[in-house]
Protein backbone atom coordinates (compact mmCIF):
# COMPACT_ATOMS: atom_id res chain seq x y z
CA UNK A 1 0.00 0.00 0.00
CA UNK A 2 1.27 3.44 -0.95
CA UNK A 3 1.79 5.81 1.95
CA UNK A 4 -0.81 8.50 2.42
CA UNK A 5 1.54 11.16 3.74
CA UNK A 6 5.25 10.95 3.24
CA UNK A 7 8.10 13.00 4.66
CA UNK A 8 11.50 12.41 3.10
CA UNK A 9 14.84 13.73 4.32
CA UNK A 10 13.26 16.92 5.59
CA UNK A 11 15.62 19.58 6.91
CA UNK A 12 14.23 22.88 8.14
CA UNK A 13 15.79 25.95 9.69
CA UNK A 14 14.50 29.32 10.89
CA UNK A 15 17.12 31.73 9.56
CA UNK A 16 20.22 29.63 10.20
CA UNK A 17 18.96 27.87 13.33
CA UNK A 18 18.26 24.24 12.38
CA UNK A 19 14.90 23.08 13.77
CA UNK A 20 14.37 19.76 12.00
CA UNK A 21 17.12 17.42 10.87
CA UNK A 22 16.66 14.78 8.23
CA UNK A 23 13.11 13.73 9.13
CA UNK A 24 11.65 10.81 7.20
CA UNK A 25 8.20 9.43 7.88
CA UNK A 26 5.69 7.27 6.12
CA UNK A 27 2.10 7.63 7.25
CA UNK A 28 -0.76 5.36 6.20
CA UNK A 29 -4.35 6.39 5.70
CA UNK A 30 -6.22 6.16 8.97
CA UNK A 31 -3.15 6.29 11.22
CA UNK A 32 -3.64 7.80 14.68
CA UNK A 33 -0.26 9.27 15.53
CA UNK A 34 1.02 11.04 18.62
CA UNK A 35 3.97 13.36 18.07
CA UNK A 36 5.77 13.56 21.40
CA UNK A 37 8.97 15.14 22.66
CA UNK A 38 10.22 17.92 24.94
CA UNK A 39 9.49 21.62 24.39
CA UNK A 40 11.48 22.89 21.43
CA UNK A 41 11.96 19.43 19.95
CA UNK A 42 10.32 20.52 16.68
CA UNK A 43 6.82 19.02 17.00
CA UNK A 44 4.92 22.20 16.15
CA UNK A 45 7.27 23.06 13.30
CA UNK A 46 6.86 19.60 11.78
CA UNK A 47 3.06 19.92 11.97
CA UNK A 48 3.16 23.38 10.35
CA UNK A 49 5.34 22.06 7.55
CA UNK A 50 3.03 19.10 6.95
CA UNK A 51 0.06 21.49 6.93
CA UNK A 52 1.64 23.77 4.32
CA UNK A 53 1.74 26.67 6.80
CA UNK A 54 5.50 26.93 6.63
CA UNK A 55 7.10 26.57 3.22
CA UNK A 56 8.84 23.22 3.03
CA UNK A 57 11.74 22.30 0.76
CA UNK A 58 10.78 20.96 -2.67
CA UNK A 59 9.33 17.48 -2.70
CA UNK A 60 10.21 16.85 0.99
CA UNK A 61 6.56 16.29 2.00
CA UNK A 62 4.07 14.51 -0.23
CA UNK A 63 0.39 13.69 0.13
CA UNK A 64 -0.96 10.93 -2.13
CA UNK A 65 2.40 11.25 -3.92
CA UNK A 66 1.98 14.97 -4.70
CA UNK A 67 4.56 17.36 -3.20
CA UNK A 68 2.55 19.68 -0.95
CA UNK A 69 4.59 22.74 -1.88
CA UNK A 70 3.37 22.33 -5.48
CA UNK A 71 -0.33 21.96 -4.64
CA UNK A 72 -2.71 24.91 -4.92
CA UNK A 73 -3.54 26.24 -1.41
CA UNK A 74 -7.28 25.58 -1.64
CA UNK A 75 -6.73 22.09 -2.99
CA UNK A 76 -4.27 21.33 -0.21
CA UNK A 77 -6.79 22.60 2.34
CA UNK A 78 -9.31 20.02 1.11
CA UNK A 79 -6.80 17.29 2.00
CA UNK A 80 -5.03 18.58 5.11
CA UNK A 81 -6.14 20.81 7.96
CA UNK A 82 -4.24 22.14 10.94
CA UNK A 83 -5.71 23.09 14.31
CA UNK A 84 -3.62 25.40 16.49
CA UNK A 85 -3.30 25.11 20.25
CA UNK A 86 -4.76 28.52 21.01
CA UNK A 87 -7.43 30.54 19.27
CA UNK A 88 -7.10 34.25 20.02
CA UNK A 89 -10.04 36.04 18.39
CA UNK A 90 -10.12 39.81 18.05
CA UNK A 91 -13.49 40.21 16.38
CA UNK A 92 -16.87 38.91 17.52
CA UNK A 93 -17.55 35.99 15.20
CA UNK A 94 -20.34 33.59 16.14
CA UNK A 95 -19.60 29.90 16.59
CA UNK A 96 -21.62 29.20 13.47
CA UNK A 97 -19.53 31.64 11.42
CA UNK A 98 -16.30 30.08 12.69
CA UNK A 99 -17.46 26.56 11.82
CA UNK A 100 -18.65 27.60 8.36
CA UNK A 101 -15.20 29.07 7.66
CA UNK A 102 -14.13 25.46 7.20
CA UNK A 103 -15.97 25.52 3.87
CA UNK A 104 -13.63 28.16 2.45
CA UNK A 105 -11.58 25.80 0.23
CA UNK A 106 -14.77 24.57 -1.46
CA UNK A 107 -16.32 27.96 -2.24
CA UNK A 108 -15.54 30.29 -5.15
CA UNK A 109 -14.83 33.98 -4.40
CA UNK A 110 -17.79 36.28 -3.70
CA UNK A 111 -20.03 33.41 -2.64
CA UNK A 112 -21.92 32.59 0.51
CA UNK A 113 -22.33 29.13 2.02
CA UNK A 114 -25.18 27.12 0.52
CA UNK A 115 -27.57 24.49 1.89
CA UNK A 116 -25.03 21.70 1.51
CA UNK A 117 -22.36 23.66 3.41
CA UNK A 118 -24.82 24.23 6.25
CA UNK A 119 -25.64 20.53 6.38
CA UNK A 120 -21.97 19.61 6.63
CA UNK A 121 -21.36 22.24 9.31
CA UNK A 122 -24.43 21.11 11.27
CA UNK A 123 -23.21 17.50 11.29
CA UNK A 124 -19.76 18.57 12.45
CA UNK A 125 -21.35 20.55 15.25
CA UNK A 126 -23.44 17.58 16.29
CA UNK A 127 -20.32 15.39 16.37
CA UNK A 128 -18.50 17.91 18.56
CA UNK A 129 -21.58 18.81 20.65
CA UNK A 130 -21.37 22.48 19.77
CA UNK A 131 -24.67 22.91 17.93
CA UNK A 132 -26.53 24.00 21.08
CA UNK A 133 -24.52 27.23 21.27
CA UNK A 134 -24.10 27.88 17.56
CA UNK A 135 -25.34 31.47 17.78
CA UNK A 136 -23.10 32.53 20.68
CA UNK A 137 -19.89 34.48 20.23
CA UNK A 138 -16.60 32.61 20.17
CA UNK A 139 -15.03 34.84 22.83
CA UNK A 140 -17.82 34.07 25.30
CA UNK A 141 -17.32 30.31 25.55
CA UNK A 142 -14.90 28.24 27.65
CA UNK A 143 -11.55 26.85 26.53
CA UNK A 144 -12.92 23.34 26.13
CA UNK A 145 -15.83 24.62 24.08
CA UNK A 146 -13.49 26.69 21.91
CA UNK A 147 -11.36 23.65 21.15
CA UNK A 148 -14.51 21.70 20.17
CA UNK A 149 -15.66 24.56 17.92
CA UNK A 150 -12.27 24.66 16.18
CA UNK A 151 -12.52 20.90 15.78
CA UNK A 152 -15.99 21.31 14.24
CA UNK A 153 -14.56 23.90 11.84
CA UNK A 154 -11.75 21.50 10.89
CA UNK A 155 -14.24 18.65 10.34
CA UNK A 156 -16.34 20.96 8.15
CA UNK A 157 -13.25 21.28 5.97
CA UNK A 158 -13.67 17.52 5.22
CA UNK A 159 -9.95 16.79 5.25
CA UNK A 160 -8.20 13.44 4.83
CA UNK A 161 -5.55 14.43 7.35
CA UNK A 162 -5.97 16.44 10.54
CA UNK A 163 -2.93 17.93 12.25
CA UNK A 164 -3.55 19.10 15.81
CA UNK A 165 -1.04 21.09 17.82
CA UNK A 166 -1.46 20.10 21.47
CA UNK A 167 -5.26 19.91 21.28
CA UNK A 168 -5.63 19.04 24.97
CA UNK A 169 -2.79 20.91 26.70
CA UNK A 170 -4.89 23.82 27.95
CA UNK A 171 -7.90 21.73 29.01
CA UNK A 172 -9.03 20.04 32.20
CA UNK A 173 -9.26 16.25 32.37
CA UNK A 174 -12.91 16.05 31.35
CA UNK A 175 -12.38 18.13 28.22
CA UNK A 176 -9.11 16.36 27.39
CA UNK A 177 -10.94 13.04 27.31
CA UNK A 178 -13.89 14.55 25.46
CA UNK A 179 -11.67 15.96 22.68
CA UNK A 180 -9.70 12.74 22.33
CA UNK A 181 -12.92 10.68 22.21
CA UNK A 182 -14.24 12.88 19.39
CA UNK A 183 -10.93 12.47 17.53
CA UNK A 184 -11.05 8.72 18.06
CA UNK A 185 -14.57 8.64 16.66
CA UNK A 186 -13.48 10.63 13.57
CA UNK A 187 -10.58 8.26 13.07
CA UNK A 188 -12.76 5.15 13.32
CA UNK A 189 -15.85 6.35 11.45
CA UNK A 190 -14.33 8.54 8.74
CA UNK A 191 -10.87 7.01 8.57
CA UNK A 192 -9.33 10.48 8.97
CA UNK A 193 -5.57 10.34 9.46
CA UNK A 194 -4.72 12.07 12.73
CA UNK A 195 -1.40 13.50 13.83
CA UNK A 196 -1.40 15.11 17.27
CA UNK A 197 1.44 16.93 18.95
CA UNK A 198 1.06 15.96 22.61
CA UNK A 199 2.74 16.54 25.93
CA UNK A 200 0.74 14.10 28.06
CA UNK A 201 2.49 10.78 27.46
CA UNK A 202 -0.21 8.82 29.28
CA UNK A 203 -3.04 10.18 27.15
CA UNK A 204 -0.86 9.71 24.07
CA UNK A 205 -0.31 6.05 24.88
CA UNK A 206 -3.99 5.60 25.72
CA UNK A 207 -5.34 6.97 22.41
CA UNK A 208 -2.62 6.88 19.74
CA UNK A 209 -1.73 3.72 17.88
CA UNK A 210 1.65 5.05 16.90
CA UNK A 211 4.01 7.42 18.67
CA UNK A 212 6.83 9.41 17.11
CA UNK A 213 9.32 10.76 19.62
CA UNK A 214 11.23 13.86 18.57
CA UNK A 215 14.24 15.29 20.33
CA UNK A 216 16.33 18.23 19.21
CA UNK A 217 14.77 18.18 15.74
CA UNK A 218 15.37 14.51 15.00
CA UNK A 219 13.28 11.36 15.32
CA UNK A 220 14.46 9.31 18.29
CA UNK A 221 11.93 6.55 18.10
CA UNK A 222 8.90 5.66 15.96
CA UNK A 223 6.55 2.81 16.76
CA UNK A 224 3.70 1.56 18.91
CA UNK A 225 3.36 3.05 22.42
CA UNK A 226 4.98 -0.13 23.83
CA UNK A 227 7.97 0.32 21.55
CA UNK A 228 8.46 4.03 22.22
CA UNK A 229 7.58 4.48 25.87
CA UNK A 230 10.58 2.69 27.37
CA UNK A 231 12.24 3.75 30.60
CA UNK A 232 15.71 4.39 29.18
CA UNK A 233 14.38 6.25 26.11
CA UNK A 234 12.11 8.57 28.12
CA UNK A 235 14.74 9.22 30.80
CA UNK A 236 17.31 9.99 28.15
CA UNK A 237 15.13 12.37 26.12
CA UNK A 238 13.34 14.20 28.95
CA UNK A 239 16.16 14.06 31.52
CA UNK A 240 13.78 12.91 34.24
CA UNK A 241 13.76 9.63 36.15
CA UNK A 242 10.54 7.73 35.48
CA UNK A 243 8.87 4.51 36.40
CA UNK A 244 6.68 2.76 33.84
CA UNK A 245 3.52 0.87 34.71
CA UNK A 246 1.21 -1.25 32.66
CA UNK A 247 -2.48 -0.74 33.36
CA UNK A 248 -4.82 -2.96 31.32
CA UNK A 249 -2.46 -2.75 28.33
CA UNK A 250 -1.93 1.03 28.57
CA UNK A 251 1.48 2.30 29.54
CA UNK A 252 1.61 4.84 32.33
CA UNK A 253 4.68 7.03 32.65
CA UNK A 254 5.23 8.26 36.16
CA UNK A 255 8.00 10.69 37.09
CA UNK A 256 10.12 9.73 40.11
CA UNK A 257 10.58 12.72 42.38
CA UNK A 258 12.69 13.14 45.48
CA UNK A 259 9.82 13.33 47.91
CA UNK A 260 8.04 10.21 46.67
Amino acid sequence: MRPHLEVENLDFAYDSEPILKNISLSIEKGDFIGLIGPNGSGKSTLLKLMGGILNCPDNAIRINEHPINAINKKKLARAITWVPQEHPMVFPYTIQEIVLMGRHPYLPPLSFEGEEDYTIARKAMETTQTLQFSDRYFNEISGGEKQRVMLASAITQEPEVMLLDEPTSALDLKYQVQILNILNQLNEEKNITLILAMHDLNLASRYCRRLILLNDGAIVCDGTPEEVLKKEIIENVYGVNVSLHNLDGDILVHPITNHS
Binding site: K48, G51, G52, I53, N55, K73, K74, K75, L76, A77, R78, I80, T81, W82, V83, P84, H87, P88, M89, V90, F91, P92, Y93, T94, Q96, E97, I98, M101, G102, H104, P105, L107, P109, L110, S111, F112, Y118, A121, R122, M125, E126, Q129, L131, Q132, S134, D135, Q157
Partner: protein, 340 residues
Protein backbone atom coordinates in the same frame (compact mmCIF):
# COMPACT_ATOMS: atom_id res chain seq x y z
CA UNK B 1 -28.89 16.01 21.60
CA UNK B 2 -31.58 18.58 21.04
CA UNK B 3 -32.46 18.16 17.39
CA UNK B 4 -34.75 21.17 17.30
CA UNK B 5 -31.70 23.44 17.40
CA UNK B 6 -30.86 24.64 13.93
CA UNK B 7 -28.40 27.11 12.57
CA UNK B 8 -29.73 30.54 11.75
CA UNK B 9 -29.28 31.67 8.18
CA UNK B 10 -28.55 35.30 8.10
CA UNK B 11 -30.39 37.45 5.60
CA UNK B 12 -27.60 39.31 3.85
CA UNK B 13 -29.83 40.80 1.18
CA UNK B 14 -32.27 42.27 3.68
CA UNK B 15 -29.43 43.92 5.64
CA UNK B 16 -27.97 45.44 2.50
CA UNK B 17 -31.37 46.79 1.43
CA UNK B 18 -31.89 48.46 4.83
CA UNK B 19 -28.52 50.23 4.69
CA UNK B 20 -29.07 51.14 1.05
CA UNK B 21 -32.38 52.77 2.00
CA UNK B 22 -30.65 54.69 4.79
CA UNK B 23 -28.10 55.94 2.28
CA UNK B 24 -30.74 56.91 -0.28
CA UNK B 25 -32.72 58.78 2.37
CA UNK B 26 -29.57 60.66 3.43
CA UNK B 27 -28.85 61.49 -0.19
CA UNK B 28 -32.37 62.86 -0.71
CA UNK B 29 -32.77 64.85 2.50
CA UNK B 30 -29.37 66.45 3.17
CA UNK B 31 -29.15 68.55 -0.06
CA UNK B 32 -32.30 70.36 1.09
CA UNK B 33 -30.68 71.43 4.36
CA UNK B 34 -28.31 74.36 4.43
CA UNK B 35 -27.58 77.89 5.56
CA UNK B 36 -29.67 79.26 2.69
CA UNK B 37 -33.14 77.79 2.41
CA UNK B 38 -34.01 76.85 -1.15
CA UNK B 39 -37.23 76.31 -3.01
CA UNK B 40 -37.17 72.69 -4.13
CA UNK B 41 -39.78 73.02 -6.87
CA UNK B 42 -37.98 75.98 -8.35
CA UNK B 43 -34.60 74.26 -8.12
CA UNK B 44 -35.83 71.09 -9.81
CA UNK B 45 -37.66 72.99 -12.55
CA UNK B 46 -34.40 74.48 -13.79
CA UNK B 47 -32.28 71.37 -14.03
CA UNK B 48 -28.56 71.10 -13.40
CA UNK B 49 -27.37 73.73 -15.84
CA UNK B 50 -29.88 76.49 -15.23
CA UNK B 51 -27.80 79.68 -15.15
CA UNK B 52 -30.16 82.18 -13.61
CA UNK B 53 -31.85 79.87 -11.15
CA UNK B 54 -30.28 80.56 -7.74
CA UNK B 55 -32.05 77.64 -6.04
CA UNK B 56 -30.83 75.22 -8.69
CA UNK B 57 -27.32 76.64 -8.49
CA UNK B 58 -27.11 76.13 -4.75
CA UNK B 59 -28.60 72.64 -4.97
CA UNK B 60 -26.72 71.30 -7.98
CA UNK B 61 -23.47 73.27 -8.08
CA UNK B 62 -22.74 73.78 -4.39
CA UNK B 63 -24.44 71.16 -2.25
CA UNK B 64 -24.75 68.07 -4.43
CA UNK B 65 -21.07 67.69 -5.49
CA UNK B 66 -20.05 68.26 -1.90
CA UNK B 67 -22.48 65.59 -0.71
CA UNK B 68 -21.28 63.15 -3.35
CA UNK B 69 -17.66 63.77 -2.33
CA UNK B 70 -18.72 63.17 1.27
CA UNK B 71 -20.32 59.88 0.24
CA UNK B 72 -17.17 58.76 -1.58
CA UNK B 73 -14.85 59.82 1.25
CA UNK B 74 -17.03 58.26 3.96
CA UNK B 75 -17.36 55.03 1.98
CA UNK B 76 -13.64 54.73 1.18
CA UNK B 77 -12.39 55.58 4.67
CA UNK B 78 -14.87 53.25 6.38
CA UNK B 79 -14.13 50.31 4.09
CA UNK B 80 -10.38 50.90 4.43
CA UNK B 81 -10.79 50.98 8.22
CA UNK B 82 -12.70 47.69 8.28
CA UNK B 83 -10.06 46.06 6.09
CA UNK B 84 -7.09 47.42 8.09
CA UNK B 85 -8.68 46.22 11.32
CA UNK B 86 -9.13 42.72 9.89
CA UNK B 87 -5.68 42.48 8.31
CA UNK B 88 -3.85 43.84 11.35
CA UNK B 89 -6.12 41.85 13.70
CA UNK B 90 -6.43 45.01 15.72
CA UNK B 91 -9.67 46.85 16.38
CA UNK B 92 -7.86 50.14 16.97
CA UNK B 93 -6.46 50.16 13.46
CA UNK B 94 -7.71 52.81 11.04
CA UNK B 95 -6.94 53.90 7.46
CA UNK B 96 -4.35 56.34 8.87
CA UNK B 97 -2.57 53.80 11.09
CA UNK B 98 0.05 52.91 8.50
CA UNK B 99 1.11 56.46 7.66
CA UNK B 100 -1.01 57.05 4.56
CA UNK B 101 -2.55 60.31 5.76
CA UNK B 102 0.64 61.76 7.24
CA UNK B 103 2.41 61.01 3.94
CA UNK B 104 -0.43 62.74 2.13
CA UNK B 105 -0.17 65.67 4.54
CA UNK B 106 3.54 66.03 3.88
CA UNK B 107 2.90 66.14 0.12
CA UNK B 108 0.14 68.72 0.49
CA UNK B 109 2.14 70.91 2.86
CA UNK B 110 5.13 70.76 0.54
CA UNK B 111 2.98 71.98 -2.36
CA UNK B 112 1.59 74.80 -0.20
CA UNK B 113 5.01 75.94 1.06
CA UNK B 114 6.44 75.85 -2.48
CA UNK B 115 3.48 78.01 -3.61
CA UNK B 116 2.53 75.58 -6.37
CA UNK B 117 -0.82 77.06 -7.29
CA UNK B 118 -1.30 75.56 -10.73
CA UNK B 119 -3.55 72.68 -11.68
CA UNK B 120 -2.79 69.68 -13.86
CA UNK B 121 -5.67 67.82 -15.53
CA UNK B 122 -8.07 69.69 -13.30
CA UNK B 123 -6.38 68.62 -10.09
CA UNK B 124 -4.67 71.30 -7.97
CA UNK B 125 -1.00 70.66 -7.20
CA UNK B 126 -1.83 70.28 -3.52
CA UNK B 127 -3.97 67.22 -4.32
CA UNK B 128 -1.42 65.71 -6.68
CA UNK B 129 1.45 66.20 -4.24
CA UNK B 130 -0.66 64.84 -1.46
CA UNK B 131 -1.49 61.71 -3.46
CA UNK B 132 2.20 61.24 -4.27
CA UNK B 133 2.93 61.63 -0.55
CA UNK B 134 0.39 58.93 0.27
CA UNK B 135 1.90 56.62 -2.36
CA UNK B 136 5.38 57.31 -0.99
CA UNK B 137 4.27 56.44 2.54
CA UNK B 138 2.63 53.20 1.39
CA UNK B 139 5.72 52.21 -0.57
CA UNK B 140 8.07 53.08 2.27
CA UNK B 141 6.17 51.23 5.01
CA UNK B 142 5.47 48.08 3.01
CA UNK B 143 8.93 47.76 1.50
CA UNK B 144 10.44 48.09 4.98
CA UNK B 145 8.27 45.34 6.40
CA UNK B 146 7.88 42.76 3.63
CA UNK B 147 9.51 39.41 4.40
CA UNK B 148 11.16 36.90 2.11
CA UNK B 149 7.91 34.97 1.61
CA UNK B 150 6.03 38.15 0.78
CA UNK B 151 4.08 38.19 4.05
CA UNK B 152 3.54 41.25 6.25
CA UNK B 153 4.16 40.52 9.94
CA UNK B 154 1.49 42.68 11.59
CA UNK B 155 3.38 43.76 14.72
CA UNK B 156 6.30 45.12 12.68
CA UNK B 157 3.87 46.69 10.21
CA UNK B 158 2.12 48.58 13.04
CA UNK B 159 5.46 49.74 14.40
CA UNK B 160 6.63 50.89 10.95
CA UNK B 161 3.32 52.71 10.44
CA UNK B 162 3.55 54.53 13.76
CA UNK B 163 7.17 55.46 13.04
CA UNK B 164 6.27 56.74 9.57
CA UNK B 165 3.45 58.79 11.11
CA UNK B 166 5.82 60.48 13.56
CA UNK B 167 8.46 61.04 10.91
CA UNK B 168 6.08 62.64 8.41
CA UNK B 169 4.41 64.66 11.17
CA UNK B 170 7.81 66.07 12.15
CA UNK B 171 8.50 67.06 8.54
CA UNK B 172 5.07 68.70 8.33
CA UNK B 173 5.77 70.64 11.54
CA UNK B 174 9.14 71.74 10.19
CA UNK B 175 7.62 73.00 6.93
CA UNK B 176 4.81 74.63 8.86
CA UNK B 177 7.33 76.40 11.09
CA UNK B 178 9.24 77.94 8.19
CA UNK B 179 6.09 78.92 6.25
CA UNK B 180 4.59 82.43 6.17
CA UNK B 181 1.19 83.39 7.64
CA UNK B 182 -0.80 82.83 4.47
CA UNK B 183 0.73 79.42 3.94
CA UNK B 184 0.35 78.60 7.61
CA UNK B 185 -3.40 79.21 7.42
CA UNK B 186 -3.73 76.99 4.34
CA UNK B 187 -1.69 74.26 6.03
CA UNK B 188 -3.85 74.30 9.16
CA UNK B 189 -6.99 74.32 7.05
CA UNK B 190 -5.79 71.36 4.96
CA UNK B 191 -4.77 69.35 8.01
CA UNK B 192 -8.26 69.73 9.49
CA UNK B 193 -9.80 68.10 6.43
CA UNK B 194 -13.01 69.08 4.74
CA UNK B 195 -15.34 68.62 1.79
CA UNK B 196 -15.81 72.29 0.97
CA UNK B 197 -13.77 72.73 -2.20
CA UNK B 198 -15.17 70.46 -4.84
CA UNK B 199 -16.92 70.10 -8.18
CA UNK B 200 -18.39 67.27 -10.25
CA UNK B 201 -15.13 66.86 -12.15
CA UNK B 202 -13.24 65.90 -8.98
CA UNK B 203 -15.96 63.56 -7.80
CA UNK B 204 -16.19 61.84 -11.18
CA UNK B 205 -12.46 61.40 -11.52
CA UNK B 206 -11.94 59.72 -8.16
CA UNK B 207 -15.18 57.69 -8.07
CA UNK B 208 -14.10 54.87 -10.45
CA UNK B 209 -10.90 54.20 -8.49
CA UNK B 210 -12.74 54.16 -5.18
CA UNK B 211 -15.44 51.79 -6.46
CA UNK B 212 -12.89 49.53 -8.12
CA UNK B 213 -10.95 49.34 -4.86
CA UNK B 214 -14.01 48.57 -2.76
CA UNK B 215 -15.06 45.92 -5.29
CA UNK B 216 -11.67 44.26 -5.07
CA UNK B 217 -11.86 44.22 -1.27
CA UNK B 218 -15.33 42.66 -1.34
CA UNK B 219 -13.92 40.04 -3.73
CA UNK B 220 -11.37 38.90 -1.13
CA UNK B 221 -13.88 39.29 1.73
CA UNK B 222 -13.92 35.65 2.83
CA UNK B 223 -10.12 35.48 2.71
CA UNK B 224 -10.01 38.59 4.91
CA UNK B 225 -12.41 36.93 7.39
CA UNK B 226 -10.04 34.03 7.76
CA UNK B 227 -6.96 36.23 8.08
CA UNK B 228 -8.73 38.17 10.84
CA UNK B 229 -8.96 34.91 12.82
CA UNK B 230 -5.21 34.19 12.39
CA UNK B 231 -2.80 33.94 9.46
CA UNK B 232 -1.77 30.34 10.13
CA UNK B 233 -5.26 28.95 10.42
CA UNK B 234 -6.19 31.01 7.34
CA UNK B 235 -3.40 29.28 5.40
CA UNK B 236 -4.64 25.93 6.61
CA UNK B 237 -8.13 26.80 5.28
CA UNK B 238 -6.66 27.43 1.83
CA UNK B 239 -6.15 31.21 1.90
CA UNK B 240 -3.17 32.55 -0.03
CA UNK B 241 -2.15 34.85 2.84
CA UNK B 242 0.65 36.90 1.19
CA UNK B 243 -1.52 37.55 -1.87
CA UNK B 244 -4.56 38.58 0.19
CA UNK B 245 -2.40 40.82 2.40
CA UNK B 246 -0.93 42.52 -0.66
CA UNK B 247 -4.34 43.09 -2.25
CA UNK B 248 -5.89 44.22 1.03
CA UNK B 249 -3.19 46.55 2.33
CA UNK B 250 -2.39 48.18 -0.99
CA UNK B 251 -6.00 48.60 -2.14
CA UNK B 252 -7.18 49.97 1.23
CA UNK B 253 -4.19 52.33 1.34
CA UNK B 254 -4.79 53.51 -2.23
CA UNK B 255 -8.46 54.36 -1.77
CA UNK B 256 -7.50 56.17 1.45
CA UNK B 257 -4.75 58.08 -0.35
CA UNK B 258 -7.05 59.05 -3.24
CA UNK B 259 -9.71 60.42 -0.90
CA UNK B 260 -7.32 62.12 1.52
CA UNK B 261 -5.53 63.89 -1.34
CA UNK B 262 -8.83 65.68 -2.12
CA UNK B 263 -10.38 66.13 1.33
CA UNK B 264 -7.41 66.16 3.67
CA UNK B 265 -7.37 63.81 6.64
CA UNK B 266 -10.91 63.37 7.99
CA UNK B 267 -10.38 61.52 11.23
CA UNK B 268 -12.49 59.09 13.19
CA UNK B 269 -14.73 57.88 10.33
CA UNK B 270 -12.42 55.03 9.36
CA UNK B 271 -12.00 53.93 12.96
CA UNK B 272 -15.54 54.17 14.23
CA UNK B 273 -17.82 53.31 11.30
CA UNK B 274 -16.57 49.70 11.01
CA UNK B 275 -17.21 49.27 14.74
CA UNK B 276 -20.74 50.64 14.50
CA UNK B 277 -21.42 48.50 11.44
CA UNK B 278 -20.04 45.46 13.28
CA UNK B 279 -22.53 46.03 16.11
CA UNK B 280 -25.35 45.74 13.58
CA UNK B 281 -24.17 43.04 11.16
CA UNK B 282 -21.32 41.16 12.86
CA UNK B 283 -17.75 40.63 11.74
CA UNK B 284 -18.21 38.87 8.37
CA UNK B 285 -16.39 41.16 5.94
CA UNK B 286 -18.47 39.96 3.00
CA UNK B 287 -21.32 41.92 4.57
CA UNK B 288 -19.32 44.31 6.77
CA UNK B 289 -17.53 45.92 3.79
CA UNK B 290 -20.68 46.87 1.83
CA UNK B 291 -22.47 47.95 5.02
CA UNK B 292 -19.46 50.04 6.14
CA UNK B 293 -19.45 51.60 2.70
CA UNK B 294 -23.14 52.58 2.83
CA UNK B 295 -23.15 53.55 6.50
CA UNK B 296 -19.83 55.42 6.23
CA UNK B 297 -21.15 57.39 3.26
CA UNK B 298 -24.35 58.32 5.11
CA UNK B 299 -22.46 59.11 8.32
CA UNK B 300 -20.02 61.52 6.68
CA UNK B 301 -22.78 63.25 4.70
CA UNK B 302 -24.78 63.78 7.89
CA UNK B 303 -21.72 65.05 9.77
CA UNK B 304 -20.94 67.44 6.94
CA UNK B 305 -24.51 68.71 6.91
CA UNK B 306 -24.12 69.53 10.60
CA UNK B 307 -20.70 71.07 9.89
CA UNK B 308 -22.04 73.48 7.29
CA UNK B 309 -25.19 74.49 9.17
CA UNK B 310 -24.53 74.47 12.93
CA UNK B 311 -22.97 77.94 13.11
CA UNK B 312 -23.98 79.09 9.63
CA UNK B 313 -22.91 80.99 7.65
CA UNK B 314 -19.53 79.83 9.05
CA UNK B 315 -18.67 76.26 8.10
CA UNK B 316 -16.70 73.99 10.43
CA UNK B 317 -14.23 71.38 9.09
CA UNK B 318 -16.16 68.10 9.00
CA UNK B 319 -13.44 66.20 10.91
CA UNK B 320 -14.39 68.14 14.06
CA UNK B 321 -17.99 67.00 13.74
CA UNK B 322 -17.17 63.34 12.95
CA UNK B 323 -15.34 63.06 16.25
CA UNK B 324 -17.74 65.20 18.29
CA UNK B 325 -20.82 63.40 16.95
CA UNK B 326 -19.35 59.94 16.39
CA UNK B 327 -17.66 59.56 19.77
CA UNK B 328 -20.73 59.93 22.00
CA UNK B 329 -22.89 58.01 19.50
CA UNK B 330 -20.48 55.09 19.62
CA UNK B 331 -20.34 55.09 23.42
CA UNK B 332 -24.14 55.15 23.55
CA UNK B 333 -24.33 52.21 21.12
CA UNK B 334 -21.79 50.21 23.12
CA UNK B 335 -23.67 50.80 26.37
CA UNK B 336 -27.00 49.89 24.80
CA UNK B 337 -25.49 46.74 23.32
CA UNK B 338 -24.18 45.72 26.72
CA UNK B 339 -27.53 46.20 28.41
CA UNK B 340 -29.35 44.21 25.72
Amino acid sequence: MNMSITMVRYSYKMTLVIFLLLFMATLCVTPLIGSTSINIANALSGGIHAQNNLDANILFQVRLPRILLGALAGAALSVAGAVFQALLRNDLAAPFTLGVSSGAALGAVLAIVLNLNISILGFPMVSLFSFLGALGAIFLVFSLVKTRHGEFPTSILLLAGVTANFFFAAMVMFLHYISDFGQSFRIIRWLMGGLDITDYQTVLSIAPMVFLGIGLLVYVGRDLNLISTGVHSATSRGVDVPRTQRIGFITASLITGIVVSITGPIGFVGLIVPHIARLFVGSDLRILIPVSMLFGASFLIICDTVARTIIAPTEIPVGIITAMLGGPFFVWLLKRKKQA
